[in-house]
């Protein structure tokens, strides 16, 4: 598996994929910098009880759709590396199991998104400090609010990985991904069983961890199904 990941990282060189990983969190933090820069007085009076909490809340508002659209583009770009010259036939006639190849692709997307979330944590801290919100950073809450939406979005990561890899025409996975992102912006009012609501971490028990657990379990389930589907399919 290490060898597969090594190979995957060689393949994403010069593909702007790493650039995208930086661009996502940078965009979210940048927009919040503008937001707080323009309405500094009003926002600080709104959140005067908990300045850091207010900032983190605003960041999450933007990060959820960014994660969804980001994972859509990322999975599509990663799959497209193989689709472009139909390198699947070369890759899969090497002595590596099909399951591991697929798992490698899925893991690559996960690792890259994880890196993006980590950058979001760092970016938010830098923004908060430069906005003079003090050194009393609620690190645990910040980590939760950056990583929980991502983990709760696992079903989408799994679904998009599957779609992007099993279809040569990337228009379909891109369309479902973009539609999903748009619908998710109105998802806080949906019933709890709707996966699109989970990244917002709201549920009737008011326990964000439930959304996260649901996301991880469903995501792994979809991953397992797609793994089986991929290994049975004939390579074009």
């Amino acid at each position: 598996m290490t060898r597969i990941m090594l190979s995957e990282f060689i393949k994403i060189k010069r593909k702007l994929i790493l650039f995208l990983v930086v661009l996502g969190p940078l965009g979210v933090v940048g927009l919040q910098a503008v937001n707080f820069g323009l309405r500094y007085d009003w926002l600080t009076s709104q959140y005067k009880e908990d300045l850091w909490g207010g900032l983190i809340g605003e960041v999450t508002m933007l990060s959820v759709p960014t994660i969804l659209i980001g994972l859509t583009i990322l999975t599509s770009m990663i799959a497209n590396i193989e689709h472009q010259t139909n390198a699947w036939k070369q890759l899969l006639s090497l002595p590596v199991s099909k399951m591991k190849v697929f798992a490698g692709k899925a893991l690559l997307s996960f690792v890259l998104l994880f890196m993006a979330c980590l950058l979001l944590v760092v970016g938010t801290i830098i923004l908060g400090i430069s906005l003079k919100f003090g050194a009393n950073i609620p690190i645990l809450y910040l980590l939760k609010m950056c990583f929980f939406p991502f983990l709760a979005a696992m079903p989408f990561l799994a679904l998009q990985t599957w779609l992007a890899i099993s279809m040569k025409n990337q228009a379909i996975p891109l369309t479902t991904g973009i539609l999903g992102t748009i619908v998710s912006m109105y998802a806080t009012g949906f019933p709890d069983w709707m996966p699109l609501k989970w990244p917002w971490l709201v549920n009737e028990w008011e326990k964000p961890i439930y959304s996260v657990l649901l996301g991880i379990v469903t995501g792994l389930g979809i991953n397992l199904l797609s793994l089986i589907d991929f290994s049975r399919r004939d390579v074009k």
Binding site: K13, A87, Q90, L94, P95
Partner: protein, 305 residues
């Protein structure tokens, strides 16, 4: 344990109701260059995909190196290098990075990259992105990738497709040198008989999913061997006379043909014609070209002629 590197039995692949590959029994011996020949759409690529584990057979079995592909696919693939149809490459990477991405999967030493690059003479271009390569160079990179894991068997699907004459020549020389220099067995598919004729030691001809010929290239050439054409004055009478004297010949377009006659038979027929006062204008040997045999074997309905 069989002597064959590749042995398939009743290999069949169905797409819907049509059998693209139909009860194919391939037999490839060690050290051979096996030419896998057939018109477009005959099932060559599908067969090769099944050999590489890219497609599942609907029926039948594949044994390579004496192992069942269903049970020991990865162990088999470790000994196989392949190039299927158009070359696969990562255009944004350089030739060396392309090879590196495969090398880490195969877990062979880094020095192997330089070796294969020099075999296909791409050492100088190794640092350029592959998207700027010509088709011939991409195809050579494909061969380099196939050779990376020190394979014992090389499966090449239409390796000369789309290459210019000098590219074809280069590819052919490269393929021919492999068994000699590296002891590799090669399966090379093509829809051009002349191609296979110049490289292969064994030939399998497939058409409409069925193997219709499988033997050495010499055997195929023997089939190509001669018939004797006789041009005489009164053809019809001559033919009847020959028949009444016990010689079966063919009468085609005012010529008499003797199929696969021995020298003695030919002499006897000529003698008998002379004795019956026929004027013999010409006695010619007619060699069927391999192309003709190929078309005869595969049937012409597939072509435009």
């Amino acid at each position: 344990m069989s002597e064959f590197i590749i042995e398939t039995k009743n290999l069949t692949k169905k797409f819907g109701a049509t059998r693209v590959v139909n009860h194919v029994d391939l037999k490839v011996k060690k050290g051979e260059i096996y030419g896998f020949l057939g018109p477009n759409g005959a099932g060559k690529t599908t067969t090769i995909r099944m050999l590489l584990g890219l497609a599942r057979p609907s029926k039948g079995s594949i044994h390579m190196f004496g192992k069942d592909i269903r049970k020991e696919k990865l162990a088999i693939l470790r000994k196989v290098g392949s190039l299927v149809e158009y070359p696969s490459y990562y255009g944004h990477l350089t030739a060396r990075e392309n090879l590196e991405a495969v090398r880490v999967l195969l877990d062979v030493p880094k020095s192997r990259i330089d070796e294969v690059l020099s075999i296909v003479r791409l050492t100088k271009d190794a640092k350029r992105p592959v998207k700027g390569f010509s088709l011939g160079m991409k195809q050579r990179l494909g061969i380099a990738t196939a050779l990376l894991g020190n394979p014992e068997l090389l499966i090449l699907d239409e390796p000369t497709n789309g290459l210019d004459p000098s590219g074809i020549l280069e590819m052919r020389e490269l393929i021919k040198s492999m068994p000699k220099e590296h002891g590799i067995t090669i399966v090379v598919s093509s829809h051009l008989l002349s191609e296979v004729d110049q490289m292969a030691t064994q030939v399998g001809i497939i058409t409409k999913g069925r193997i219709i010929f499988q033997d050495s290239i010499q055997k195929l050439r023997e089939q190509a061997s001669s018939s004797i054409k006789l041009t005489v004055n009164d053809v019809e009478a001559a033919w009847k006379t020959l028949l009444s004297n016990g010689y079966t010949t063919d009468l085609v377009q005012n010529n008499i043909y003797i199929d696969r006659g021995t020298d003695d038979q030919v002499a006897a027929i000529v003698k008998s014609l002379v004795e019956h006062d026929f004027s013999i204008y010409r006695v010619e040997e007619q060699k069927k070209s391999l192309e003709e045999i190929f078309l005869e074997l595969t049937g012409k309905e597939g072509g435009l002629l």
